[in-house]
Symmetry: C2
Subunit: 358 residues, 2 copies
């Protein structure tokens, strides 16, 4: 990137992740470009399917920037899907109305896993890199851009189940029955994801986040062996620099609050927290090894402004330190949230974040 | 109950919960009377709807005893549903194909909550007590009978949402927006459930278990205030004796492994564990205050016998003490499990449980 492109008007988010001084607590919101915004729904309609929107760099950039127009957010996140990598491996992703993501060709045994290749990020996945480049250019240094991926375990759950599942019977059945097949699948995914994230960084992503949405469904031992192990491999393989700045890596295992210490041991820079743990306890447990991102229950946004402000204040005060905290929800924002309440949240984070440092 | 009826041929389960000596580790399986058994499906078909089966004491007893014919289980559990109490409060429970439980008349504001009454366990809920009496008589002292309920918070989630939910937006929205209304609802539910469980004990239940299926979706503070607080009220209000024996109380919050210490502080006798915590760590954290029940991932039952046996052995050895452990899955058994694998599990528990004590 050129020097102009690499200038950042607001680098609070990057500084907090690296535990450098900040004037207030930075904030962004998982799924901030999404269905709770009428302007998102309009662009989505114009694009066609959800994947059509992901594949159109200009429209993907448009929806990525929409929440920044409304709210004083400190980061943008690439508009894409966690399942782009398995789709590029040939599984045939589509989105079924009311059911979510579905793969036409799920992978359920060693033979099918052996046949999978590692996708070229500037080949089948070039549309993602084009979106990163376009967004980075459109952002023009306003705030940092976050790239992301699903974790190998999370991708594997969809690849084996073929669709969303409540009980994870097929993927865990394969894991318990044929651990060697599962390890081969996860290893290929770790290789694919490492290339994918490094390509996002080369295209301009200034932070990367690994979403381990389903790691919390595992036992402590299978979490370590089948999820964390492969996130470690990715962290080890990332080129963590861009424009002469460090590119922080954030790991987020939903339902993984019990395993924060081992996650911090990977050498990542930040950990995402859901809302099932108090952020002061999390901070005490991980010490100063990593920054923390989170951790408000997304359902707080259904309440009135005063309740939202009180919850924001409590989390910021519970964290208590002048840096190392990025405010966020503990999971993606729900589609029925009133955008006015998001403004209340974002402004309250900056207000109470400044007060904490005063 | 008469002296004859109160004799127990196998009281391993009760003894382990009270940390008295046992010859081997007792075992039962959540949802052991269920759709994975062809004989259950036959009786269910004969009964009509799921609630018709719950309301027919003879058929409810028949399905309760079915798994005892196949497997060497150490306890029976009342065949019923966790939503009987809100149904008796007038919400109109039915089961929709493929969607699960639905309430015709959900409760979403203070006025609707104020209008709710506390059901008479020997009135609208007498069909449950009749089932307890029939099962207890049919068991004839073979193994103890477990009665159960949903926790107030878990019942409230269905009562407010009206059906199963992934994001708990309506119930948590009410909790954050109007905590007084939520507390009134939970208080009425705690009173109702206390009467309901005491009536089950009077009718012959020898242990009672409170299923807090959705407590794990809360934050640490809202778990304490809106779920645990009302389970505490129930524990305090139970008449914990039957036939001159203590009636143990088991609390089970799925996804609640982080909060075991505060659960143990309620004065319950046992804690159910899901599979997201190692049972040795759980035992170290709760000390000798309570017995532990669990904690195998239900998906292990999709694997071959050797993998099932290895997982059983590890859990029994991780627990390591000669009493205070009841083996179980960490959640209900899935409908597609091969019953032969359940036999492998049950026999392995007794084999490795004996070996531990040898």
């Amino acid at each position: 990137m050129s020097d102009v492109a690499s200038h950042l008007e607001n680098d609070r988010f990057l500084r907090a992740l690296l535990k450098q001084p900040v004037d207030t607590t930075p904030v962004w919101i998982m799924r901030q470009a999404g269905r709770y915004l009428p302007e998102y729904k309009a662009t989505r309609k114009q694009a066609g399917s959800f994947m059509d929107l992901c594949r159109n760099a200009d429209l993907a950039s448009e929806v990525t920037l929409q929440p920044l127009e409304r709210f004083d957010l400190d980061a943008a996140i690439l508009f894409s899907d966690i399942l782009t990598v398995p789709d590029a491996m040939g599984l045939g992703l589509y989105f079924s109305e009311g059911e979510g993501p579905v793969f036409e060709r799920p992978v359920r045994n060693m033979a099918a896993i052996k046949a999978l290749g590692v996708p070229d990020p500037e080949g089948e996945l070039q549309y993602v890199m084009n979106a990163v480049r376009t967004i980075r250019s459109d952002l023009n240094g306003r705030v940092p851009l976050i790239g992301f991926t699903g974790s190998p375990w999370t991708l594997a759950t969809y690849m084996v189940e073929g669709r969303s599942t409540k009980d994870f019977g097929k993927v865990k059945g394969l894991m318990y029955e044929d651990p060697a097949a599962m390890h081969l699948l996860l290893d290929k995914l770790a290789d694919s994801v490492t290339l994918y994230l490094n390509a996002q960084i080369a295209a301009g992503a200034q932070t990367v986040m690994i979403f381990d949405t389903w790691g919390g469904t595992l036992t402590p031992q299978t979490y370590r062996d089948f999820s964390l192990n492969y996130m470690q491999k990715i962290v080890d393989g990332l080129v963590r620099e861009n424009d002469g700045r460090k590119v922080p890596v954030i790991l987020f295992t939903k339902g993984g609050a019990q395993w924060l210490e081992t996650m911090a041991d990977t050498g990542c820079d930040g950990l995402g927290l859901d809302w099932t743990i108090n952020i002061a306890e999390a901070r005490d447990r991980v010490g100063d090894r990593v920054a923390l991102q989170g951790n408000m229950d997304p359902c707080v946004l259904y309440a009135e402004p005063e309740a939202i402000r009180a919850n924001v204040k409590r989390i910021i005060e519970d964290f208590g330190l002048p840096t190392g905290h990025v405010f966020n929800l503990g999971h993606g924002i729900h589609q029925y949230i009133n955008p006015d309440n998001v403004k209340v949240l974002v402004d309250a984070v900056h207000e109470f974040g400044s007060a904490l440092r005063a």
